[in-house]
Assembly symmetry: C2
Homo-oligomer: 307 residues x 2
């Protein structure tokens, strides 16, 4: 068997690890809930990652690729995931490098890994210019232009969640105002719906209620679709995108989300070149991040520019 | 003497041509007003370009680089500049190639040429990730990421003028609404000021009056600075920019424009990485487009990706 890549996906809710074959197929997969405070200190969490990796079958490895919640210093891979308070400046890349001293170890933002996975083997395959988005508890993304991953000056390119869609909109956790994320993230959308009288709790409930025709829940999906449409129009104008792939929990809402999104996008993106952009659901589901993390090793010419 | 590049800048107001040395210095320069309708048909305009080129001293050439008002089909170089009605689908690249059959002939949007010039030899020199902007009758730009020009799927990347800053804002000539250009272009800003009771006519008058402290004119500059700040915050979040270089007539307003721009940008760009971006005036003035057009030939590894 040709050497696989060990891919790791570190999120606030779950940790996942996989062996990914050179062609992008997942040969083995393990997952576990992320230990939550107050039981999880930094080292407990690290040992949980190691035990997860140890559950995978033995294999000859070509390298280790990681997607991890941001922010992080990049490419040094000191991570401080918003949803994992136990890790603040945790040297994840260095720890993994110590454990795999002879292999390349590469790490990037989890939304970037998702976008790379979708470009390499998913909804953006073969396209030159793609924005990959995750719409869930937060709104993140990754940018592939000219067939290559764009990192930006500090590895933070792709933050579509902080494109401004309503300058008088709600405050955003980033400190700004009216960002796409402030409006379209699941908890933000649920809070907006509760203000209108909707009795539910989570973004997931909201999507379910919208599918059942609850009028406030439907309006909430319209609102998310509108915000996504404005942000995607801006991104298309700036980057001349061919395709936008949207994954994450909220994208499960299907036409309830994608129809108002398309309506808004088409109202704002009127120039010939901008009309060409296609917005599609992500194709790889939960596996996109692991496949993308593996691509930092397996397709490094396109997806890894650092050291 | 080492071979120069013949650089041509085609705009609605003036045509310019230069011989550019391999290091980026302009060795010779000629300009002429663009023939205006109804006297200028497509062929008259073409002959004017040729006669302008003929005024330059004879030189051995390494190639021909052109910046031309958009839109155009790219890289084929059929141009339909908004402000030059005589050229609709005019095969400018082909005509120049026929005249210089043994040389590379390359053409791009004039705002892209300006951004490339500023990156190669101006305000963005040595930076990896830069947005170059022209704020004038329109608002255009070009994007350099990872040290290389970003073209997008159809050569239209860099359209910062159509990033949406106020979704309920004024209609834009692109067919959308609330684009940066709809608010901050000189004529749009002058129209807004006249609605408020300002008695002047042009964007240039407006900048002059603002410098003299005319309150409506000052408010108009605040408005332009605000719109620029919102759009630059969005672009910085999406592309993780290091520097934004702003040229064009309105940028002459100096602190009257740059101060409200900075205030808005800093209010919206709060994450650590986004705070790092610097907004600076363009450094090469009117010559940026010619120097950038020459760079399509002289630094083709960074600035020319097509055929």
């Amino acid at each position: 068997m040709t050497d696989c890549v060990l891919a790791v996906d570190v999120g606030g809710t779950k940790l996942a690890a996989a062996l990914v074959e050179p062609g992008g197929r997942i040969a083995a997969y393990e997952r576990i809930s992320t230990p939550q405070p107050p039981h999880a200190d930094a080292e407990t969490l690290w040992r949980t990652v190691l035990s997860l990796i140890d559950r995978l079958p033995a294999a000859r490895l070509a390298g280790v690729g990681v997607g991890c919640g941001g922010p992080m210093s990049w490419p040094s891979g000191k991570v401080s995931p918003l949803n994992i308070p136990a890790w603040r400046g945790f040297p994840l890349r260095e720890r993994l490098q110590d454990r795999y001293p002879d292999l390349p170890v590469r790490i990037h933002n989890d939304a970037v890994a998702m976008a790379v996975g979708e470009h390499w083997r998913g909804a953006g395959r073969g396209r030159g210019d793609m924005l990959g988005m995750v719409v869930s508890t937060g709104v993140g993304g990754g940018l592939i232009l000219g067939g290559r991953l764009v990192d930006g000056v500090s590895g933070n390119a792709g933050h579509i969640g902080h494109v401004i869609v309503d300058h008088e909109g709600p405050p955003c956790e980033c400190g700004g105002r009216g960002c796409l994320e402030a409006i379209a993230r699941g908890p933000g959308l649920a809070a907006w719906a509760r203000e209108q009288g909707w009795p539910g709790e989570t973004g997931k409930d909201l999507a379910t209620d919208a599918a059942r025709g609850h009028p406030i829940a439907v309006r909430a999906m319209n609102r998310a679709g509108w915000a996504l449409g404005v942000a995607i129009a801006s991104a298309t104008h700036l980057c001349d995108l061919e395709v936008v792939a949207i994954g994450g929990g909220l994208s499960q809402a299907g036409p309830l989300l994608f129809r108002p999104l398309e309506d808004t996008l088409r109202a704002h993106a009127r120039m010939d070149f901008a009309r060409q952009v296609r917005v599609v659901p992500a194709a790889l589901g939960q596996m996109a991040g692991l496949i993308g993390a593996a691509a930092f090793i397996l397709a490094e010419d396109r997806y890894w520019t650092a050291d």
